[in-house]
Amino acid sequence: MKVKYVGDVKDLLMPGVGLLQPDMVIDVAPEMAERLLQRPDFERVEEKRKAKKKSVRVISTFSVEGGEESRWEHDM
């Protein structure tokens, strides 16, 4: 789980993690993240949701001689 250090101290040592810098994002175990989020100098980092793939609905296809493929829609 990702949390962001929003304090202003440079080279802050977090045992087991390393040195922190302002605005640094760290990925830690969920239980550690929950404890860190109780502190005022850490914030939750919202995970970006994966964008849904745009789907193309193919109504129909046809082939012409020569192997060229085209798409068309029915006239309504």
């Binding site: 202003d8 101290v9 802050l12 977090m14 045992p15």
Partner: protein
């Protein structure tokens, strides 16, 4: 540790101290009921007034002493360089804030949470060949188990004896071997009331700042200051003491903010004893005990200045909060 929003209201700690040792303990103060009619043995025991007190020893660095000084003295002003360095100036206030302390020995993820703690005394020791150390003595209302927090610690180099300079009356003391000072708050640890096992509040008594210093005995100037002349008279002479520790660079380009610093200023000090005795061929060291008194000219008993690269954060509505000002 964390400064409590109101006296006795526990808070999640946000300042983490990598200490040397601690001896904070609770005490049941059991009341054993002794009566005459039930034979020779004690037959009953009931819980008494809960006691919570002890010491915390730490090595003083530029970014682990501000909250302790605030908890000890009660008043801080903040000044900033504009390029990332800050100067915190602490002076004694009429009362002091309470704080919550979590003591985490790294055993099974649990910590002891000490609630409504107050600093009864803070002792600073600057001894040649050593790092600057502090001993904070506390008294508190009670304790309980909590899940331990995840700590972070400052990595700034602590103050070392060669960073320090002692001045008396503005003149540098070239051969100071040691300086020690204890600031006391005199918190009543027996002010219990009917209806509770725990201290209802912290009642702060008189404050006092005293200590001693060892200076190589090369001339009589400090002995004369002690005597107040060539012999003791009906008046005594006060001196001003300044101890200044200047550490590494803060990265600031602003004069006065460019180095990590801890400065202790005591404008009015009286020397109570002075020993400069010889022993065979050993070097003679003059040891003087001192006592500070309030100086109306400066309007403080003592002043501590910490220069570093972070700001002190205090979220409290305790009456002391009026003493937190930013200039």
């Amino acid at each position: 540790m964390g400064i409590e929003p109101v006296m006795g209201k526990e808070t999640t700690p946000y300042e983490f101290l990598d200490v040397v040792s601690e001896s904070v303990r609770g005490e049941q103060n059991i009341i054993y009921i002794e009566t005459a009619g039930l034979g020779r043995s004690i037959r009953q025991a009931v819980p008494g007034p809960w006691g919570e007190s002890g010491d915390i020893d730490l090595i003083v660095g530029p970014e682990n002493i501000e909250y302790i000084l605030y908890a000890t003295l009660g008043h801080v002003t903040l000044d900033e360089s504009g390029d990332g360095a800050y100067k915190h100036v602490f002076t004694p206030a009429s009362t002091i804030p309470s704080f919550t302390l979590d003591i985490a020995p790294d055993v099974k993820g649990k910590a002891r949470r000490i609630i409504m703690a107050g600093v009864t005394s803070l002792r600073l020791e600057a001894v040649a060949r050593e790092v600057l150390t502090a001993t904070m003595s506390i008294v508190a209302a009670k304790e309980k188990f909590v899940t331990e927090s995840t700590p972070t610690f400052s990595t700034k180099r602590p103050f070392v004896f060669y960073d320090g300079v002692l001045k008396i009356d503005g003149g540098t003391v070239a051969r100071c071997e040691a300086w020690r000072g204890t600031y006391e708050n005199s918190i009543a640890d027996d002010a219990f009331v009917l209806g509770s096992r725990f201290l209802p509040t912290l009642i702060v008594g008189p404050c006092n700042f005293s200590g001693d210093m060892d200076i190589q005995f090369l001339d009589w100037q400090y002995y004369e200051k002690y005597l107040g002349g060539t012999e003791p008279g009906k008046t005594i002479q006060s001196i001003a003491i300044e101890l200044n520790f200047v550490g590494e660079s803060t990265g600031s380009t602003v004069s006065g903010f460019d180095k990590y610093q801890l400065k202790i200023e005591i404008p009015k000090v009286y020397l109570n004893t002075s020993e400069a005795n010889f022993d065979r061929r050993e070097r003679i060291v003059q040891s003087m005990e001192w006592q500070a008194i309030y100086d109306p000219t400066y309007a403080y008993l003592c002043r501590f200045t910490v220069t570093n690269t972070r700001t002190i954060t205090i979220n409290t509505t305790q009456t002391i909060s009026a003493s937190f000002t930013v200039s």
